[in-house]
């Protein structure tokens, strides 16, 4: 689903990341699929590149679970489906963000510990 710039990431480690990023972006404003993908690319400075078409199954899945709602809107003569976060989605974002913060902290500690270990030896 998500690809790091240089190589494929371990899918197990990337579980939940697309949902987290999408919920975070849509919490600020409603967007349609193309906008979401471009926003992920630009905010991660192209470190996270989404296989663009595969964002839609994630959006549809989140909508089905009640985390997102969608509405059709015509902008500049083109009909698009805009997505926004529901209260259940906001709650899900809090949980996912917390889980990822914990994971990132743990990994950071391990990396720092490894550097200390290298410095001592």
């Amino acid at each position: 689903m998500l690809r790091m710039a240089a190589r494929e990431s371990n899918p197990n480690f990337m579980n939940g990341v697309p949902e987290l990023l999408i919920l975070r972006l849509l919490q600020e404003q409603e967007m349609y699929g193309y906008e979401i993908v471009q926003a992920i690319r630009s905010r991660s400075q192209a470190v996270i590149k989404v296989g663009e078409g595969v964002v839609y199954p994630v959006l549809h899945g989140l909508e089905q679970e009640g985390a997102l709602r969608s509405r059709r809107k015509t902008v500049n003569g083109r009909s698009r489906i805009y997505y926004s976060v529901t209260p259940a989605g906001a709650q899900r974002l809090v949980e996912l963000a917390s889980a990822w913060s914990n994971l990132a902290t743990a990994i950071q500690k391990m990396l720092t510990g490894a550097q200390h270990g290298a410095a001592i030896s």
Partner: protein
């Protein structure tokens, strides 16, 4: 949509349907992919690419068919009921539908009996009115509805199976059951013979009856099966022809 991305969408649609994704989810996915493709192409053209280069770049950014199909198929909640429980959709639901259709036929008969023949022991036969009187038209319409019901349910089975690109085994099973139920269905309506029935009307199914009637019943079942399966069979032929072409 198909004009935007002709070589990818039919293949993706077929793969998703064959994998069991419900047709409405497939439609929506393809529609959003088409919009996304148009946005990507416009972006590439704004960056100075020719139309052909822009389309190639947009196609690469959107993803390969494998990747796009896998992402959708992995979301198990998008699977259709036909793919999840085909035995229920083709073995059970058609029988329930046909039973409901026959129940409506009985109700229709009962109303006609009360309305046009309030004193008669049975609504079947024995009327001396004109061919065009309201009672005759009413009962004939009911008769055709009763005869056509299994065929219509069979067409529904074929439509479901075609939409989901299912293997022929499931619709064949459903059609066989419908043909059997349709050929053996019997309505009895008589104040004297069915005193305890619902409005003096009763129905029975799946009985083979006396030996002399078995052959007639089998022919009847075969006719229902052929008529019900015809549209699905034609669709299969046209698909096979399209693939070979």
């Amino acid at each position: 949509m198909a004009q935007l991305f002709p070589e990818l969408f039919p293949e993706l649609r077929e793969r998703l349907l064959r994998a069991g994704v419900a047709p409405r989810h497939v439609r929506r996915y393809l529609s959003e992919l088409a919009d996304h493709f148009a946005d990507l192409r416009a972006e590439e053209e704004r960056a100075g690419c020719s139309r052909a280069e822009a389309e190639a770049a947009a196609r690469a950014r959107l993803g390969a068919v494998d990747e796009l199909a896998r992402a959708m198929v992995e979301q198990r909640q998008f699977r259709s009921w036909c793919a999840r429980v085909p035995w229920a959709m083709f073995g059970l639901a058609p029988l329930l539908f046909l039973a409901a259709a026959y129940f409506l036929a009985c109700l229709y008969l009962w109303f006609g009996w009360r309305m046009f023949l309030p004193g008669a022991d049975t609504p079947f036969g024995g009327r001396n009115g004109s061919m065009y009187d309201l009672a005759n038209i009413y009962f004939q319409a009911g008769k055709y509805y009763y005869i056509c019901a299994p065929v219509l349910v069979g067409w529904g089975i074929g439509l479901l199976a075609a939409r989901q690109r299912l293997k022929a085994i499931w619709p064949a099973l459903g059609l066989l059951l419908i043909a059997w139920m349709g050929a053996t269905a019997q309505i009895q309506a008589s104040r004297t013979a069915v005193p305890a029935g619902l409005g003096h009307i009763s129905m029975k199914f799946f009985g083979l009856g006396p030996e002399a009637q078995v052959f007639g019943g089998a022919v009847h079942a075969l006719i229902i099966f052929l008529l019900a399966a015809l549209p699905y069979f034609i669709w299969r032929l046209s698909q096979a022809h399209a693939r070979s072409a």
